[in-house]
């Protein structure tokens, strides 16, 4: 049986982890390579890097980080943040990323998803959807949540599947950072709308939220950042908990 995946996400800025795991024996808490290795050794099913580097002159650092990480971690590595073109995707894949997550560029230019999924295969193209509730629908936001595109998130999800996305990473902006749980309604609606896997993101505060994301939100994978970063839970604890709730996980 296919297992539900747990994906820890690391925010990387100028080549350094912004919110890291607080482990006493960690030599360098800001080193993304070392942190990714801890996650993969701890049983993470995949690793996700979100590059939040703002300045252009430091944009190339992420390539170096990906290159080093892929030589140490032998589980899938997804990299997102600031991807604008097929060429950016090509560079990340050549450095050793297994998948890329495309956000703003997918909204602004649908050709990026169409062309890249044709060129590299759908398996490495993840479209990241940042959605915020407005009345009885959800709208897609871009530029790290700053701009409202006004596009309906459910329609957009379907369109991205048609364009060749292999997976959708759905983040509820209403829940992100709140630690009150995923937006289950959003997750389950998108998951029911498309036939590609949905990764739930935004709002995890405890392990029951992961269970809800899978059982109620119908997500194929759950992504979380802060509950792992601050050592509140280990990936192993999360998996054991999911297992105890009858969710199939790789242990």
């Amino acid at each position: 049986m296919l297992k539900k995946r747990i994906i820890p996400c690391l925010d990387v800025k100028n080549g350094r982890v912004v919110k890291g795991i607080n482990f006493v024996d960690l030599k360098d808490a800001g080193d993304p390579v070392e942190q990714a290795k801890i996650y993969s050794d701890g049983g993470a099913d995949e690793i996700c890097f979100l590059d939040i580097t703002a300045s252009n002159e430091n944009r190339d650092i992420i390539y170096e980080v990906v290159e080093k990480t892929s030589k140490k971690c032998f589980v899938p590595l997804t990299v997102g943040g600031g991807i604008k073109s097929v060429e950016d995707i090509n560079k990340l894949l050549n450095c050793g990323a297994d998948k890329v997550s495309i956000n703003t560029a997918a909204v602004e230019n649908s050709k990026v998803v169409i062309d890249s999924s044709k060129k590299f295969g759908s398996q490495c193209i993840v479209v990241a959807i940042d959605a915020k509730k407005n009345g009885d629908k959800w709208e897609v936001f871009t530029h790290g949540g700053r701009n409202n595109s006004g596009i309906d998130a459910l329609e957009y999800a379907k369109q991205m599947e048609d364009n060749g996305a292999g997976e959708l990473l759905v983040t509820s902006m209403d829940r992100d950072g709140t630690q009150v749980g995923y937006d289950i309604d959003l997750m389950s609606r998108i998951s029911s709308k498309v036939n590609i896997p949905v990764i739930a993101s935004g709002g995890v505060g405890n392990l029951d939220h992961l269970v809800d994301g899978i059982k109620l939100g119908k997500a194929s994978a759950v992504l979380a950042a802060s509950i792992f970063h601050y050592g509140k839970y280990s990936v192993k604890e999360a998996k054991d908990y999911l297992d105890s709730k009858g969710i199939p996980v790789r242990i």
Binding site: L2, S70, F74, N94, A97, D98, K119, G121, N195, P197
Partner: protein, 208 residues
Amino acid sequence: MNVTIVDYNSGNISSVINSFKEVAKNKVTIEVTSDLNKIKSSDKVVLPGQGSFKSCIDALNNIDGLTDTLNEFAITNKKPLLGICVGLQMFADIGYEETETKGLGWISGKVSKIDNQNSKYKLPHIGWNQINIIKDSRIFKDINNYSHMYFVHSYEFIPEDKNVISSTTDYSSNIVCSVEKDNIFGTQFHPEKSDKIGLKIINNFISL
């Protein structure tokens, strides 16, 4: 000994390279090339493959003499070859992704879309699934049955001769996830992304 990973513009092969280099350390030379003479003179060949069946076959055919060289290596000279993902699928006679495309024809059979039972199952089949080992395979030496492997694919290889199947995995149906026929090995899953157990499979292939 040297092992050649065939670089034929079949998409992203960095992870395959990294994993083989990690396992090989300094004991085995890992070459990454499409140079026909280098392929001919190598002891083992790895045929990766990402994207569609058609795009991979097209990419092979785009390099003059590559298909002939691979035929000579695997069929005439019977040297060990490992196909990964679409690399395995290309062993078939025919594939139906995008359009009907002729495969290498090394193992009779076809590659068709996984039956997702009217959308009851998501496609691609992405993530970790357990392998059910049904035949002893040399690349599964010291690999426990029901080990987890990382998959990402929407098409499956259906060989005519079921005796070539060394393991299957359970999704919407029983999916062939590895084959062994004489000197030819293939995995539908990605050993290069399947953590320590995947590296062990790579080591088993290198150590053949």
